[in-house]
Amino acid sequence: MRYESPATTKEAVALLAAEKGSAHVLAGGTDLLAKLRLDMVEPDLMVDIKRIPAMKEIKKTATGFKIGAAVSGAELGENKALVKAWPGVVEATNLIGSDQIQGRCTMVGNLCNASPAADSVPAMIAAGAKAVVVGKNKRRTVPVEKIVTGPGQTSLASDELIEAITLPQPAAKSADAYLRFTPRTEMDIAIVSAAVSLTLSRGVVKSARVSLGAVAPTAVLVPAAAKAIIGTKLDDEALEAMAAACSAACNPIDDKRGTVEYRTRVAGVLAKRAAKIAFERAGG
Protein backbone atom coordinates (compact mmCIF):
# COMPACT_ATOMS: atom_id res chain seq x y z
CA MET A 1 0.00 0.00 0.00
CA ARG A 2 1.19 3.52 -0.87
CA TYR A 3 0.20 6.47 1.31
CA GLU A 4 -0.07 9.97 -0.12
CA SER A 5 -1.10 13.19 1.59
CA PRO A 6 -1.52 15.78 -1.18
CA ALA A 7 -1.85 19.51 -0.47
CA THR A 8 -4.60 20.25 -3.00
CA THR A 9 -7.82 18.66 -4.22
CA LYS A 10 -6.40 18.67 -7.77
CA GLU A 11 -3.42 16.56 -6.70
CA ALA A 12 -5.70 14.19 -4.76
CA VAL A 13 -7.91 13.66 -7.80
CA ALA A 14 -4.86 13.13 -10.05
CA LEU A 15 -3.59 10.44 -7.67
CA LEU A 16 -6.96 8.67 -7.71
CA ALA A 17 -7.21 8.92 -11.51
CA ALA A 18 -3.69 7.52 -12.05
CA GLU A 19 -4.10 4.53 -9.73
CA LYS A 20 -4.75 1.26 -11.54
CA GLY A 21 -5.31 -0.77 -8.40
CA SER A 22 -7.68 -0.08 -5.53
CA ALA A 23 -7.57 3.49 -4.24
CA HIS A 24 -9.24 4.78 -1.08
CA VAL A 25 -9.70 8.29 0.24
CA LEU A 26 -8.69 8.63 3.89
CA ALA A 27 -10.44 11.32 5.92
CA GLY A 28 -11.17 10.34 9.54
CA GLY A 29 -10.48 6.67 8.86
CA THR A 30 -12.98 5.50 11.46
CA ASP A 31 -14.62 3.17 8.93
CA LEU A 32 -11.77 2.71 6.45
CA LEU A 33 -9.03 1.79 8.96
CA ALA A 34 -11.38 -0.55 10.85
CA LYS A 35 -12.05 -2.29 7.52
CA LEU A 36 -8.31 -2.39 6.81
CA ARG A 37 -7.75 -4.10 10.16
CA LEU A 38 -10.48 -6.65 9.39
CA ASP A 39 -9.04 -7.27 5.87
CA MET A 40 -12.31 -6.06 4.34
CA VAL A 41 -10.35 -3.69 2.08
CA GLU A 42 -6.91 -4.11 0.49
CA PRO A 43 -5.94 -0.67 -0.77
CA ASP A 44 -3.04 -0.19 -3.19
CA LEU A 45 -3.23 3.53 -2.55
CA MET A 46 -4.56 5.58 0.33
CA VAL A 47 -5.01 9.31 -0.29
CA ASP A 48 -5.12 11.25 2.97
CA ILE A 49 -7.10 14.48 2.39
CA LYS A 50 -6.45 16.04 5.82
CA ARG A 51 -3.49 18.13 4.58
CA ILE A 52 -5.70 19.91 2.02
CA PRO A 53 -6.55 23.28 3.64
CA ALA A 54 -9.91 23.67 1.83
CA MET A 55 -11.05 20.30 3.19
CA LYS A 56 -10.30 21.25 6.81
CA GLU A 57 -12.41 24.39 7.06
CA ILE A 58 -16.00 25.37 7.72
CA LYS A 59 -16.65 28.43 5.58
CA LYS A 60 -19.55 30.83 5.84
CA THR A 61 -20.45 31.68 2.25
CA ALA A 62 -22.90 34.11 0.63
CA THR A 63 -25.41 31.28 0.25
CA GLY A 64 -24.81 29.33 3.47
CA PHE A 65 -22.05 27.03 4.70
CA LYS A 66 -19.31 25.03 3.02
CA ILE A 67 -17.98 22.23 5.19
CA GLY A 68 -14.73 20.60 4.08
CA ALA A 69 -14.69 16.82 3.67
CA ALA A 70 -12.05 16.38 6.38
CA VAL A 71 -13.80 18.41 9.11
CA SER A 72 -14.33 16.15 12.13
CA GLY A 73 -17.56 15.71 14.06
CA ALA A 74 -15.96 17.39 17.09
CA GLU A 75 -15.00 20.44 14.99
CA LEU A 76 -18.53 20.63 13.60
CA GLY A 77 -19.98 20.65 17.11
CA GLU A 78 -17.68 23.52 18.14
CA ASN A 79 -18.81 25.80 15.31
CA LYS A 80 -21.44 27.98 16.98
CA ALA A 81 -22.80 29.55 13.77
CA LEU A 82 -23.34 26.12 12.22
CA VAL A 83 -24.97 24.71 15.37
CA LYS A 84 -27.34 27.66 15.37
CA ALA A 85 -28.22 27.39 11.68
CA TRP A 86 -28.41 23.59 11.36
CA PRO A 87 -28.80 22.03 14.83
CA GLY A 88 -30.20 18.80 13.37
CA VAL A 89 -27.26 18.21 11.04
CA VAL A 90 -24.79 18.81 13.85
CA GLU A 91 -26.65 16.66 16.40
CA ALA A 92 -26.86 13.83 13.87
CA THR A 93 -23.14 13.96 13.12
CA ASN A 94 -22.27 14.22 16.81
CA LEU A 95 -24.17 10.96 17.45
CA ILE A 96 -21.60 8.99 15.45
CA GLY A 97 -19.55 6.84 17.85
CA SER A 98 -17.65 7.91 20.94
CA ASP A 99 -15.64 11.07 21.71
CA GLN A 100 -12.65 9.21 20.26
CA ILE A 101 -14.54 8.65 17.00
CA GLN A 102 -15.80 12.26 17.01
CA GLY A 103 -12.18 13.42 17.02
CA ARG A 104 -11.77 11.93 13.55
CA CYS A 105 -15.08 11.02 11.86
CA THR A 106 -16.46 13.21 9.08
CA MET A 107 -19.86 13.79 7.45
CA VAL A 108 -18.45 13.00 4.02
CA GLY A 109 -16.90 9.77 5.31
CA ASN A 110 -20.23 8.84 6.86
CA LEU A 111 -21.87 9.53 3.48
CA CYS A 112 -19.32 7.66 1.34
CA ASN A 113 -19.20 4.65 3.67
CA ALA A 114 -22.78 4.32 2.42
CA SER A 115 -24.30 2.51 5.38
CA PRO A 116 -28.12 2.64 5.32
CA ALA A 117 -27.94 3.55 9.03
CA ALA A 118 -25.48 6.47 8.70
CA ASP A 119 -26.59 9.14 11.19
CA SER A 120 -25.55 12.30 9.37
CA VAL A 121 -27.06 11.33 6.01
CA PRO A 122 -30.83 11.71 6.67
CA ALA A 123 -30.08 15.02 8.42
CA MET A 124 -28.07 16.27 5.44
CA ILE A 125 -30.82 15.17 3.03
CA ALA A 126 -33.54 16.91 5.07
CA ALA A 127 -31.39 20.04 5.18
CA GLY A 128 -31.04 20.10 1.39
CA ALA A 129 -27.28 19.57 1.60
CA LYS A 130 -25.26 19.20 -1.59
CA ALA A 131 -21.96 17.45 -2.19
CA VAL A 132 -19.22 19.21 -4.13
CA VAL A 133 -17.84 16.35 -6.24
CA VAL A 134 -14.48 16.86 -7.93
CA GLY A 135 -13.16 14.58 -10.67
CA LYS A 136 -10.19 14.74 -13.00
CA ASN A 137 -11.95 16.77 -15.65
CA LYS A 138 -14.94 18.23 -13.95
CA ARG A 139 -16.52 19.49 -10.81
CA ARG A 140 -20.22 18.93 -10.11
CA THR A 141 -22.63 19.69 -7.31
CA VAL A 142 -24.87 16.77 -6.39
CA PRO A 143 -27.77 16.61 -3.91
CA VAL A 144 -26.70 14.34 -1.03
CA GLU A 145 -29.60 11.94 -1.68
CA LYS A 146 -28.06 11.15 -5.11
CA ILE A 147 -24.69 10.02 -3.71
CA VAL A 148 -25.51 6.68 -2.09
CA THR A 149 -26.96 4.09 -4.48
CA GLY A 150 -27.06 1.07 -2.15
CA PRO A 151 -25.35 -0.41 0.92
CA GLY A 152 -21.62 0.35 0.47
CA GLN A 153 -22.23 1.79 -3.02
CA THR A 154 -21.98 5.38 -4.24
CA SER A 155 -22.49 7.18 -7.53
CA LEU A 156 -18.93 8.56 -7.48
CA ALA A 157 -16.60 7.62 -10.34
CA SER A 158 -13.19 6.13 -9.46
CA ASP A 159 -11.42 9.45 -10.07
CA GLU A 160 -13.95 11.45 -8.06
CA LEU A 161 -14.04 12.54 -4.46
CA ILE A 162 -16.23 14.83 -2.40
CA GLU A 163 -14.41 18.03 -1.49
CA ALA A 164 -17.10 19.57 0.68
CA ILE A 165 -20.73 19.61 1.72
CA THR A 166 -22.73 22.78 1.22
CA LEU A 167 -25.70 23.74 3.36
CA PRO A 168 -28.00 26.64 2.46
CA GLN A 169 -28.45 29.58 4.79
CA PRO A 170 -31.75 28.75 6.49
CA ALA A 171 -34.65 31.15 5.91
CA ALA A 172 -36.09 33.00 8.92
CA LYS A 173 -38.22 30.78 11.21
CA SER A 174 -36.48 27.61 10.05
CA ALA A 175 -34.99 24.69 11.97
CA ASP A 176 -34.12 21.03 11.66
CA ALA A 177 -33.93 18.06 14.02
CA TYR A 178 -32.66 14.49 13.94
CA LEU A 179 -33.64 11.53 16.07
CA ARG A 180 -32.52 7.94 15.98
CA PHE A 181 -33.72 4.93 17.85
CA THR A 182 -31.11 2.66 19.46
CA PRO A 183 -31.47 0.19 22.34
CA ARG A 184 -28.50 1.84 24.11
CA THR A 185 -28.12 5.59 24.65
CA GLU A 186 -24.54 5.72 23.30
CA MET A 187 -22.26 3.78 20.98
CA ASP A 188 -24.96 2.11 18.94
CA ILE A 189 -26.21 1.99 15.36
CA ALA A 190 -29.63 3.35 14.39
CA ILE A 191 -32.45 0.84 14.01
CA VAL A 192 -34.53 3.67 12.60
CA SER A 193 -33.75 7.36 12.22
CA ALA A 194 -35.65 10.42 11.07
CA ALA A 195 -34.69 13.97 10.14
CA VAL A 196 -37.05 16.89 9.57
CA SER A 197 -36.23 20.36 8.35
CA LEU A 198 -38.96 22.99 8.10
CA THR A 199 -39.70 26.67 7.64
CA LEU A 200 -42.66 28.42 9.29
CA SER A 201 -44.70 31.40 8.27
CA ARG A 202 -47.09 32.78 10.92
CA GLY A 203 -47.07 29.48 12.75
CA VAL A 204 -47.87 27.44 9.64
CA VAL A 205 -45.38 25.06 8.00
CA LYS A 206 -44.45 26.76 4.73
CA SER A 207 -41.94 24.22 3.48
CA ALA A 208 -40.46 21.00 4.82
CA ARG A 209 -38.19 18.08 4.01
CA VAL A 210 -38.42 14.71 5.74
CA SER A 211 -35.80 11.98 5.47
CA LEU A 212 -35.53 8.51 7.01
CA GLY A 213 -32.51 6.32 7.73
CA ALA A 214 -32.02 2.58 8.33
CA VAL A 215 -35.40 1.65 6.83
CA ALA A 216 -34.29 1.07 3.22
CA PRO A 217 -31.07 0.25 1.31
CA THR A 218 -30.26 3.98 1.39
CA ALA A 219 -31.47 6.94 3.42
CA VAL A 220 -34.67 8.17 1.77
CA LEU A 221 -36.23 11.55 1.15
CA VAL A 222 -40.00 11.27 1.70
CA PRO A 223 -41.78 14.08 -0.20
CA ALA A 224 -45.21 12.69 0.73
CA ALA A 225 -44.34 13.08 4.43
CA ALA A 226 -43.33 16.70 3.89
CA LYS A 227 -46.51 17.33 1.90
CA ALA A 228 -48.59 16.02 4.81
CA ILE A 229 -47.37 18.79 7.14
CA ILE A 230 -46.96 21.70 4.70
CA GLY A 231 -49.80 24.19 5.18
CA THR A 232 -50.57 22.90 8.69
CA LYS A 233 -49.78 23.99 12.22
CA LEU A 234 -48.48 20.47 12.86
CA ASP A 235 -51.78 19.40 14.42
CA ASP A 236 -52.35 15.75 15.32
CA GLU A 237 -54.08 15.00 12.05
CA ALA A 238 -51.14 16.33 10.01
CA LEU A 239 -48.66 14.45 12.17
CA GLU A 240 -50.57 11.19 11.74
CA ALA A 241 -50.68 11.70 7.97
CA MET A 242 -46.94 12.35 7.97
CA ALA A 243 -46.28 9.23 10.06
CA ALA A 244 -48.36 7.15 7.64
CA ALA A 245 -46.40 8.55 4.68
CA CYS A 246 -43.13 7.69 6.45
CA SER A 247 -44.22 4.14 7.19
CA ALA A 248 -45.32 3.75 3.56
CA ALA A 249 -41.84 4.80 2.39
CA CYS A 250 -40.11 2.09 4.46
CA ASN A 251 -38.50 -0.92 2.86
CA PRO A 252 -36.42 -2.23 5.75
CA ILE A 253 -34.57 -5.44 6.49
CA ASP A 254 -35.55 -7.90 9.19
CA ASP A 255 -32.64 -8.57 11.52
CA LYS A 256 -31.74 -9.16 15.14
CA ARG A 257 -31.86 -5.44 15.85
CA GLY A 258 -35.37 -4.83 14.53
CA THR A 259 -38.13 -6.47 12.55
CA VAL A 260 -39.71 -5.04 9.42
CA GLU A 261 -42.96 -4.29 11.31
CA TYR A 262 -41.08 -2.58 14.14
CA ARG A 263 -38.92 -0.41 11.91
CA THR A 264 -41.90 0.56 9.73
CA ARG A 265 -43.95 1.65 12.74
CA VAL A 266 -41.14 3.44 14.58
CA ALA A 267 -40.15 5.43 11.47
CA GLY A 268 -43.46 7.31 11.69
CA VAL A 269 -43.16 7.81 15.45
CA LEU A 270 -39.64 9.24 15.20
CA ALA A 271 -40.57 11.51 12.30
CA LYS A 272 -43.43 12.96 14.37
CA ARG A 273 -41.12 13.63 17.30
CA ALA A 274 -38.42 15.14 15.09
CA ALA A 275 -41.00 17.37 13.38
CA LYS A 276 -42.20 18.64 16.77
CA ILE A 277 -38.64 19.46 17.83
CA ALA A 278 -37.91 21.26 14.55
CA PHE A 279 -41.22 23.15 14.85
CA GLU A 280 -40.36 24.30 18.35
CA ARG A 281 -36.82 25.27 17.39
CA ALA A 282 -38.21 27.30 14.48
CA GLY A 283 -40.26 29.29 16.96
CA GLY A 284 -43.61 27.61 16.28
Binding site: R2, G28, L33, R37, M46, S98, Q100, G103, R104
Partner: protein, 167 residues
Protein backbone atom coordinates in the same frame (compact mmCIF):
# COMPACT_ATOMS: atom_id res chain seq x y z
CA UNK B 1 6.13 -2.53 1.52
CA UNK B 2 8.73 0.20 1.92
CA UNK B 3 8.88 2.12 5.15
CA UNK B 4 8.16 5.82 5.48
CA UNK B 5 10.18 8.07 7.78
CA UNK B 6 7.91 9.95 10.20
CA UNK B 7 8.94 12.97 12.29
CA UNK B 8 6.54 13.81 15.06
CA UNK B 9 6.28 14.98 18.66
CA UNK B 10 5.28 12.55 21.40
CA UNK B 11 4.60 13.86 24.90
CA UNK B 12 6.53 17.01 24.04
CA UNK B 13 9.64 15.22 22.72
CA UNK B 14 10.56 15.28 19.03
CA UNK B 15 10.87 11.71 17.74
CA UNK B 16 11.44 9.94 14.44
CA UNK B 17 10.49 6.46 13.36
CA UNK B 18 10.14 4.50 10.13
CA UNK B 19 7.07 2.39 9.51
CA UNK B 20 5.16 0.77 6.65
CA UNK B 21 2.30 3.03 5.50
CA UNK B 22 -0.41 0.62 6.62
CA UNK B 23 0.88 0.38 10.22
CA UNK B 24 -1.40 1.86 12.87
CA UNK B 25 -0.20 4.68 15.11
CA UNK B 26 -0.90 2.29 17.99
CA UNK B 27 1.66 -0.20 16.67
CA UNK B 28 4.16 2.56 15.89
CA UNK B 29 3.89 3.86 19.46
CA UNK B 30 4.17 0.41 21.01
CA UNK B 31 6.66 -1.36 18.76
CA UNK B 32 8.84 1.45 17.43
CA UNK B 33 8.82 3.96 20.30
CA UNK B 34 8.43 1.51 23.19
CA UNK B 35 5.38 3.35 24.53
CA UNK B 36 3.26 0.36 25.53
CA UNK B 37 0.71 2.26 27.62
CA UNK B 38 -1.85 2.33 24.81
CA UNK B 39 -3.27 -1.15 24.34
CA UNK B 40 -5.01 -2.94 21.52
CA UNK B 41 -8.35 -4.24 22.76
CA UNK B 42 -10.49 -4.50 19.64
CA UNK B 43 -8.49 -2.87 16.85
CA UNK B 44 -11.67 -1.35 15.39
CA UNK B 45 -12.30 1.76 17.49
CA UNK B 46 -14.93 0.28 19.81
CA UNK B 47 -13.09 -0.20 23.12
CA UNK B 48 -10.93 2.92 23.60
CA UNK B 49 -8.00 1.12 25.21
CA UNK B 50 -5.67 2.64 22.58
CA UNK B 51 -6.82 6.24 23.29
CA UNK B 52 -4.26 9.00 22.70
CA UNK B 53 -4.56 12.61 21.62
CA UNK B 54 -3.41 13.95 18.24
CA UNK B 55 -3.06 17.75 18.19
CA UNK B 56 -5.17 17.80 21.35
CA UNK B 57 -8.01 15.67 19.92
CA UNK B 58 -8.92 12.41 21.59
CA UNK B 59 -8.66 9.52 19.10
CA UNK B 60 -8.32 5.77 18.95
CA UNK B 61 -4.72 5.20 17.86
CA UNK B 62 -5.77 1.90 16.26
CA UNK B 63 -7.75 3.99 13.77
CA UNK B 64 -4.87 6.33 12.90
CA UNK B 65 -1.96 5.41 10.64
CA UNK B 66 1.55 5.91 11.97
CA UNK B 67 2.37 7.96 8.86
CA UNK B 68 -0.44 10.37 9.71
CA UNK B 69 1.53 11.46 12.78
CA UNK B 70 3.97 13.45 10.60
CA UNK B 71 4.28 16.94 12.09
CA UNK B 72 1.54 16.34 14.66
CA UNK B 73 1.66 16.42 18.46
CA UNK B 74 0.83 13.13 20.08
CA UNK B 75 0.10 12.69 23.79
CA UNK B 76 -0.07 9.29 25.45
CA UNK B 77 -0.63 8.04 28.99
CA UNK B 78 3.16 8.06 29.46
CA UNK B 79 3.02 11.87 29.36
CA UNK B 80 0.47 12.16 32.16
CA UNK B 81 2.71 11.98 35.23
CA UNK B 82 5.05 14.87 36.04
CA UNK B 83 8.30 12.99 36.65
CA UNK B 84 7.63 10.73 39.62
CA UNK B 85 4.52 12.71 40.64
CA UNK B 86 1.40 10.97 39.42
CA UNK B 87 -1.32 12.95 37.69
CA UNK B 88 -4.38 13.47 39.97
CA UNK B 89 -6.34 11.09 37.73
CA UNK B 90 -3.72 8.36 38.15
CA UNK B 91 -3.60 8.92 41.92
CA UNK B 92 -7.40 8.76 42.26
CA UNK B 93 -7.64 5.64 40.10
CA UNK B 94 -5.32 3.99 42.64
CA UNK B 95 -7.00 5.47 45.73
CA UNK B 96 -10.51 4.59 44.53
CA UNK B 97 -9.47 1.16 43.20
CA UNK B 98 -10.77 2.10 39.76
CA UNK B 99 -8.89 -0.71 38.05
CA UNK B 100 -8.42 -4.42 38.27
CA UNK B 101 -6.63 -6.00 35.31
CA UNK B 102 -5.50 -2.57 34.08
CA UNK B 103 -5.73 -3.15 30.33
CA UNK B 104 -8.35 -0.43 29.81
CA UNK B 105 -6.84 1.98 32.36
CA UNK B 106 -4.45 3.96 30.11
CA UNK B 107 -7.31 4.61 27.68
CA UNK B 108 -9.63 5.72 30.48
CA UNK B 109 -6.95 8.04 31.88
CA UNK B 110 -6.27 9.68 28.51
CA UNK B 111 -10.00 10.03 27.74
CA UNK B 112 -10.75 11.39 31.22
CA UNK B 113 -7.93 13.92 30.91
CA UNK B 114 -9.30 15.05 27.53
CA UNK B 115 -12.67 15.57 29.20
CA UNK B 116 -11.29 17.51 32.20
CA UNK B 117 -9.12 19.68 29.93
CA UNK B 118 -12.24 21.08 28.28
CA UNK B 119 -14.68 20.69 31.17
CA UNK B 120 -13.08 20.93 34.64
CA UNK B 121 -16.36 20.34 36.47
CA UNK B 122 -18.37 17.70 34.60
CA UNK B 123 -21.57 16.15 35.92
CA UNK B 124 -21.73 12.39 36.41
CA UNK B 125 -23.82 12.13 33.23
CA UNK B 126 -21.24 14.10 31.28
CA UNK B 127 -18.47 11.83 32.58
CA UNK B 128 -20.41 8.72 31.61
CA UNK B 129 -21.07 10.02 28.10
CA UNK B 130 -17.46 11.17 27.67
CA UNK B 131 -16.17 7.72 28.69
CA UNK B 132 -18.75 5.78 26.65
CA UNK B 133 -16.04 4.96 24.12
CA UNK B 134 -13.94 3.18 26.75
CA UNK B 135 -14.85 -0.34 27.75
CA UNK B 136 -13.89 -2.00 31.03
CA UNK B 137 -14.82 -5.60 31.79
CA UNK B 138 -13.61 -5.65 35.42
CA UNK B 139 -14.74 -2.79 37.64
CA UNK B 140 -18.20 -2.01 36.33
CA UNK B 141 -17.46 1.71 35.68
CA UNK B 142 -18.77 3.10 38.96
CA UNK B 143 -15.36 3.31 40.61
CA UNK B 144 -13.93 4.82 37.44
CA UNK B 145 -16.57 7.56 37.45
CA UNK B 146 -15.96 8.25 41.17
CA UNK B 147 -12.21 8.48 40.54
CA UNK B 148 -12.70 10.97 37.72
CA UNK B 149 -15.01 13.07 39.92
CA UNK B 150 -12.45 13.06 42.75
CA UNK B 151 -9.58 13.92 40.41
CA UNK B 152 -11.61 16.75 38.88
CA UNK B 153 -12.11 18.13 42.38
CA UNK B 154 -8.38 17.83 43.16
CA UNK B 155 -7.50 19.58 39.91
CA UNK B 156 -9.96 22.42 40.51
CA UNK B 157 -8.49 22.93 43.98
CA UNK B 158 -4.94 22.97 42.62
CA UNK B 159 -5.94 25.44 39.89
CA UNK B 160 -7.46 27.76 42.50
CA UNK B 161 -4.30 27.59 44.59
CA UNK B 162 -2.14 28.37 41.57
CA UNK B 163 -4.35 31.31 40.65
CA UNK B 164 -3.98 32.70 44.18
CA UNK B 165 -0.19 32.29 44.07
CA UNK B 166 -0.03 34.27 40.84
CA UNK B 167 -1.92 37.13 42.47
Amino acid sequence: MSSVLVSTTVNGDPVQFACPPDETLLNSLRDRLGLTGAKEGCGTGDCGSCSVTVDGRLVCSCLVLGVEAEGREISTVEGLADGSALHPLQQQFIDKAALQCGICTPGFLVAAKALLDRNPDPTETEIRYALAGNLCRCTGYDKIVRAVQAAAKDMRKAAKKNAKKKK
